[in-house]
Symmetry: C2
DNA sequence: CCCACTTTCGCAACGCTGTTGCCAAAGTGC
DNA sequence: GCACTTTGGCAACAGCGTTGCGAAAGTGGG
């Protein structure tokens, strides 16, 4: 590691604390305490940030007997990122500011099966339009794209978008980057959702958690040590096809007794409590294996009966924890990141409103996709 | 991060490369390439290491037309660590040098249920004796202790040593540290085994893997991103009680359908192939969830029929990978770290020989325990 | 054998990092 | 109004890796 890397590391540390502090801001001395750096170093770093327009002074605190502390805050408009969520039948694009707040949102129907060229054309159109609305062109850091199915996050190549084999092997990242002349990052939708939750306020005091999605299928995203765990081949988080019943009923994937198959079957016959119990068993396995701090549930099937799922999963975890003599890991519904919505509703709200998203149980996948570009600024690059 | 942290980071990087290179050594320029630092920086760092006696010149390579490269190597005797493995009925203690090579080994029967004070007394005796044999007293970095059952790695407090509730809550680390006047680290036995494998040659090109142990019970240790993943409460790696059969036969832990219960039952009725298949199913879940690079199997039940287990587990993984259209993760038997045994067999070989260990399927837990002290030197601290 | 050439590696000067010492600024409280 | 406390910037500093340059130690052609 070189000297310059140290500088950007510490700058990222400070930026992350500024982001976490939100609009109320944070004082220099508190930054010093939290980072372990001296107040002088913080002064230098924040002076650079203020020169670049990334930070600004925001009033002062009450005095405690001496000169009152000056409060610093992140300037949200100093940078933007576009996030695109490609779902099977829909495209959602958002423009986020530095804090992750949504400045503009657009949603349109899309047939993912219409072929790579059509999809690219649509993404280029939507992302380009949003990026153009971000003021200065240089202020857009890049475009994050989240879509279902296994893919290679590092190379940005699609592998097996579930149900759309014609997209296999398509180098989405490079094609989009060339067309948009912007940095592009692609990732699985569940990873993007998990990343969005990781930088959201909901997981503030938590360093590792699992986000489990139950919508049309069952999937998951893992955050370990503050960063999304993608594994060697970006294949981590395949939660839906965890086998919890040896030689159980066959699943579409070819295995038998997968969580997804069992849960879908239970829901189909109206037994939501049983679906929650099965899900809870798989979640219990995950918690035992990884010892995460928190479990977040999402997806529209969960959203249809949130209490049932939270209670059912928590019951399994509590029972296991009770026998093991420890405390159970908390289970919550992922709130979808609302409440941090930035201003500018009238500016670009072409498509649906935020409320509708929660109704579908899509917990800010597009916002999480934008975080693929924003998170590295705050030292949240993956391991 | 301060400036001094940068220095120790880069020093650790260099030390790790020196360790990996083994007795053949590595040249300064190669160190520069592998670390990304300039040759000058490497010269400075290695000069410090040579002053401290940690590194030494070890001949030179053939010339390629100019001055031949000087080869540097780690000086194994520059530091030692004691590793202690507390098993249910046996205590194994080793003295390891900087490279992890075993300098002395001692094994004696021990009743873990004899109470905390007795156990402490025995560990103090064995570890103290080995530490005294390491030449200069200051050359011993500390003592690592590995034992079964959940515990708090950070505080060094035992939680629920399986089968020995009288040890619950005992602050083993602090008590031992005071008695030995040495730094002490405690960890789960499976974590120690995984750490030992992580620094061994077997996983050289691999950044994340799972070690799964099938002995008297089933357990596991995870290495993600080169460091042992312990989770928030050091509870990660609980592999034995992954449920793979909903409402299956009851397990001692109180759950139903645990891997351990199913595998033990299969072995008891002589159906080792079925045990391997069940284990493979759970391993398949783990691989899907974490996308590790490698699966290593160990433990004396595996050692009794290694081919059957490797083939059985690999078959499940291959079948899943085939349907998913990817390559299967390789499965191997953990070799137990033999072959890196340092010299000095006659010096301290009071107890059993190394070969016996492999026969029991205990893959260097004591050596891994010693690595709890050694690994941080090489930048392998956990996240 | 000698000399040109290549490659390695250390010394010295440098730019940049965070740190330390000191002082001005800006409050509180008697 | 003055002593005191606390904040935060300026200047000098030690230490990091980098750059420039030259000595050391080989190879290979004449």
């Amino acid at each position: 590691m070189q000297l310059g890397a140290l500088r950007s590391h510490n700058t990222a540390l400070v930026l992350d604390l500024l982001r976490t502090a939100g609009p109320e801001g944070i004082s220099r001395l508190e930054l010093a305490e939290r980072t372990g750096l001296t107040p002088q170093a913080i002064s230098k770093i924040t002076a650079r940030l203020r020169e670049n327009g990334l930070a600004a002074e925001a009033g002062r605190r009450a005095s405690t007997g001496g000169k009152p502390r000056t409060v610093l805050r992140l300037v949200p408009e100093a940078g933007h990122a576009v996030g695109v969520h490609l779902d099977r039948d829909e495209l959602t694009a958002v423009l986020c500011d530095l804090t992750g707040g949504v400045v503009a949102r657009h949603r349109t129907p899309l047939d993912l099966g219409a072929g790579a060229e059509t999809v690219v054309e649509r993404v280029v159109g939507e992302a380009g339009e949003l990026a153009a609305g971000a003021g200065r062109p240089g202020a857009v850091l890049g475009v994050g794209v989240a879509l279902p199915g296994p893919l290679d996050h590092r190379r940005g190549v699609l592998h097996r978008v579930t149900g759309f084999p014609e997209l296999n092997g398509f180098p989405l990242r490079d094609v989009l980057a060339r067309r948009l002349s912007l940095p592009v990052v692609v990732d699985k939708d569940t990873n993007a959702a998990a990343l969005g939750l990781a930088v959201g306020g909901e997981t503030a005091s938590v360093t590792s958690f699992a986000y489990l999605h139950f919508g049309a299928g069952v999937g998951g995203g893992l955050v370990l040590g503050g960063a999304v765990h993608r594994g060697a081949r970006t294949g981590a988080g395949e939660f839906g096809h965890q086998v919890v019943q040896l030689d159980g009923p066959p699943c579409e994937c070819g295995n038998r007794g997968c969580v997804e198959a069992l849960c879908l079957a239970a829901v189909a016959r109206g037994d939501v409590a049983e679906a929650a119990r099965v899900l809870g068993t798989a979640v219990g396995n995950l918690v035992a294996l990884l010892d995460v701090d928190l479990v977040l549930l999402g997806g529209r099937t969960v959203a249809a009966a949130p209490e049932t799922f939270v209670r059912g999963v928590a019951a399994v975890l509590h029972e296991r924890a009770r026998r093991a003599g420890g405390d159970a890991v908390p289970v919550r519904v992922a709130s979808g990141g609302e409440g941090r919505e930035g201003g500018g509703d009238g500016e670009g709200g072409v498509g649906g409103a935020g409320g509708e998203r929660a109704g579908r149980g899509e917990h800010g996948v597009a916002e999480g996709a934008a975080q693929l570009l924003l998170a590295p600024l705050f030292g949240r690059a993956d391991g």
